[in-house]
Symmetry: C2
Subunit: 555 residues, 2 copies
Amino acid sequence: MTDLLAAHRDRLDAALTAIRTRGYHSAFPESPSPRVYGENAAADGQAAFEAHLGQEYAAGTPGARGTVVTEESPFGIELNVAYPRTVEDGLDELLTAARAGLTGWRDAGIDGRTGVVLEILDRLHKRVFELANAVQHTSGQAFVMAFQAGGAHALDRALEAVAYAHEEMSRYPAEALWEKPAKGEPIRMQKTFTVTGRGVALVIGCNTFPTWNSWPGLFASLVTGNAVVVKPHPLAVLPLAITVDVCREVLTEAGFDPNLVTLAVERAGDGLAKPLATRPEVKLIDFTGGTEFGDWLEQNATQATVFTEKAGVNAVIIDSTDAFKALCGNLAFTLALYSGQMCTTTQNIFVPAGGIETDEGHKTFEEVGAGIAGALGKLLGDDARAVEILGGIVNQAVVNRLELAAQYGEVVLESRAITHPAFPNAVVRTPLLVAIDAQETDVYGSECFGPVSFLVKTADTAEAIEIFGRTVTAGGAMTAGIYSTDAKVLDQAREAALDAGVALSENLTGPVFVNQSAAFSDFHGTGANPAANATYTDGAYVASRFRVIQSRRHV
Amino acid sequence: MTDLLAAHRDRLDAALTAIRTRGYHSAFPESPSPRVYGENAAADGQAAFEAHLGQEYAAGTPGARGTVVTEESPFGIELNVAYPRTVEDGLDELLTAARAGLTGWRDAGIDGRTGVVLEILDRLHKRVFELANAVQHTSGQAFVMAFQAGGAHALDRALEAVAYAHEEMSRYPAEALWEKPAKGEPIRMQKTFTVTGRGVALVIGCNTFPTWNSWPGLFASLVTGNAVVVKPHPLAVLPLAITVDVCREVLTEAGFDPNLVTLAVERAGDGLAKPLATRPEVKLIDFTGGTEFGDWLEQNATQATVFTEKAGVNAVIIDSTDAFKALCGNLAFTLALYSGQMCTTTQNIFVPAGGIETDEGHKTFEEVGAGIAGALGKLLGDDARAVEILGGIVNQAVVNRLELAAQYGEVVLESRAITHPAFPNAVVRTPLLVAIDAQETDVYGSECFGPVSFLVKTADTAEAIEIFGRTVTAGGAMTAGIYSTDAKVLDQAREAALDAGVALSENLTGPVFVNQSAAFSDFHGTGANPAANATYTDGAYVASRFRVIQSRRHV
């Protein structure tokens, strides 16, 4: 087992350095180019993905009852993968099996477990093209994005979480000699400290980022000595089925119980998450999804430590700029990427009613809107190119929401449907941009998930900053941005972001976007506002996933 | 402000080293001897304590309504200290005041806050004799114990928590340069990372250890950037009133808002803790006390991160020994110290029905009981000496419980009342020892807080280990011990303790006792069984008390 750690020691050490400095670092190349991954990697990965279609997936889930097909591809292809179906009646069997390997896993020690988990990441990397296809056809992400966000970047985030967990567990010595001065000989005790997991961890996946949002919690819990039950979103099972498969394969090879990681697939509507999340065996929960259920978990799964990422009202404040065209281009890409279906996509763009000063002279409120709309038009003008940015709409609820949103204010840019050249049944939509008055917080003060953004007309920048702080404090946010040439305004925005507990991106006009967070450097979420009670990744994300149990005796 | 850190830098650095090695360390001398603290220290401290009696304590609590007298000394002296009374109607005012200084406190930075908190600990140390008297006359601890557990050791535990918090906050760089390789020039971003507190922290104190159990949470929350509301147990206010006083004094001197630390005293029965603990401003709660209210907090104060220390069924398994007399003496001291009113006192002593092998030959079950009883008799035979170990009974509920307990089984050693030579109205009782059959888990499977221990007759050691694991898993434990000369039995006990999530002391026959945990080395509680969901002190105890908020911009 320690051989596995030795094999991945350099990767771990580089990650440990990265989390201390939080500069640029990446362990898994983000380019799907044949020059990086080899000539056959893409085709082989696609073939491996296609081999799952129409088949029964042998996930080996204890306590499962029959199978269930739950996925529908946003790109309109037939998936028809059948998974073992977990039902409430089978939870005793599932959780008993999950717990069976805990002692052996604990006894593997910090380095033993870390080696196994790093080997799992390496194997997942070897299947990254297969995973990218699976992410694409469940989430609706375009292929390159699925490869990056669902593959390479997700692996980086997972490695970041494993590095934090390894560092956290290593804070405590395995042994200590305690020598208290006394009259005559000192009093001497030998002490041992053993890291033990909390029990069973539950990961509840989401539809849009089945791997990126699940892997940090999954591997943080596994490496700290817990068994993990993975419950995917019914519409995005395959990426996590492959994940669980790889985990079980490596665990078995290394001599551990494969049931330390299990897949629990429910039929949509079965409501499996509530009974599962409140089981006494479940001590850790990682959840990504809607606010309603996230809040429910926080309030009801009180036997567990709960990590949630929920909805928010991400905002960008536009005060002034010395690069108007680049501003519009940068924002347009953010709104367009994955049809605005990222938890980090900007929803509210605050612009002063009187317009802004720019390098192209004064721009009215309407001209700012037109600038962003124009940049979107240019970015998405060619259908074949557009679909590679937009991807597909993840599910029908987003389409419904989009159709309602045009009535909320004055439409600055209409959403249009695009026919995907390669997938005729794909549901593709461009972003809708709606101008709205600042007092309409009922509309823009809560999340309207999907390709919908609001151009919010404020009296001035001071009002924008005030509303920004208020809406983020009340509704949460994963991201925030400010554009200003005025150092004083930047300071005010930074102060407001600190108070509201949200990360701030300033004057992004180049190849970095407010909706993107870089593993090892940018924290994803803060845990300091209602959008998420934790972040990827810091000490708090890993420290309560294990306990240290001590014994002592005289020397 | 950084001057304060410089003044205490060596103390911090030594603590930081100690928590990495978890060997012996102490920053505050535990001996109240005049040779250590000076000729006048004891008399001055007592005079300072006595100066509070019968007076109104000017705690400066915002939103308080009138005053309230709530304390009764277990030693029977008149305290009559009147404190500002906090009522539910005053919570808006209190919490608004508590929050007012948060921004300034955040902006003080990690080192600024750490310096202030270390200065507070230093000032508390200067008042350690006054605090010892206050702890003695509210908790019922005898003076020397009050000085140590309530003064020096409590300061060590507080320092340990501050060291963990400082290390935790320092894991993140204040600034980072992110340089991503790209075609041509790399993409460069400058990033800042700011530690911010969660908001208002609530500390709910207990009757028996008002300082030892409150200080770690109080100072961990304060140093990480939170405001702290301290709600003492109505019967043990003065030690925390002095604590809050010192905090406010140092905060004011250093230019911060004194309302960052406030005292909220309720009239017994007011039920202030529930409305206070569930206020949205309250983001952190530290609680020591009964299981019922601890569980209530965990289940209802879901807007906060809750740290609890509750009840448990501490156990010692006796399998065999090569030092029977020393075993009996060691256990007797544990049962007698502070009349068994420590959350770490052994309640259940498992002994095989067939007796045990010892250095004095075979001992029957009855002879083991007689050995412990005899050691207690010897230890407590002289009243004047006995009261310095026993202290007073903390409140009437303990007396009532003790009086009922004799009927639970066969009395091995009766509890007797002792008249305190110095305090004629003190309520002093010696430990009761009751033999009981293993099947009576209804009796010994839950905590019987006070000077009551059970000699549990098991079929053999294997059954003892099995019941030990089962009762601790169900009922929790702060401590556990094993006596055996058999390496295999020790291994089994260690394994059972790991599975049950409790720290294990092995073959204690010298000057270390199962009920004592040494700061910087022994973890107090584990967070891995129902007796406590956290430990003093590890990373998990501090990591979620703050968040890191980031900003980024292109260079």
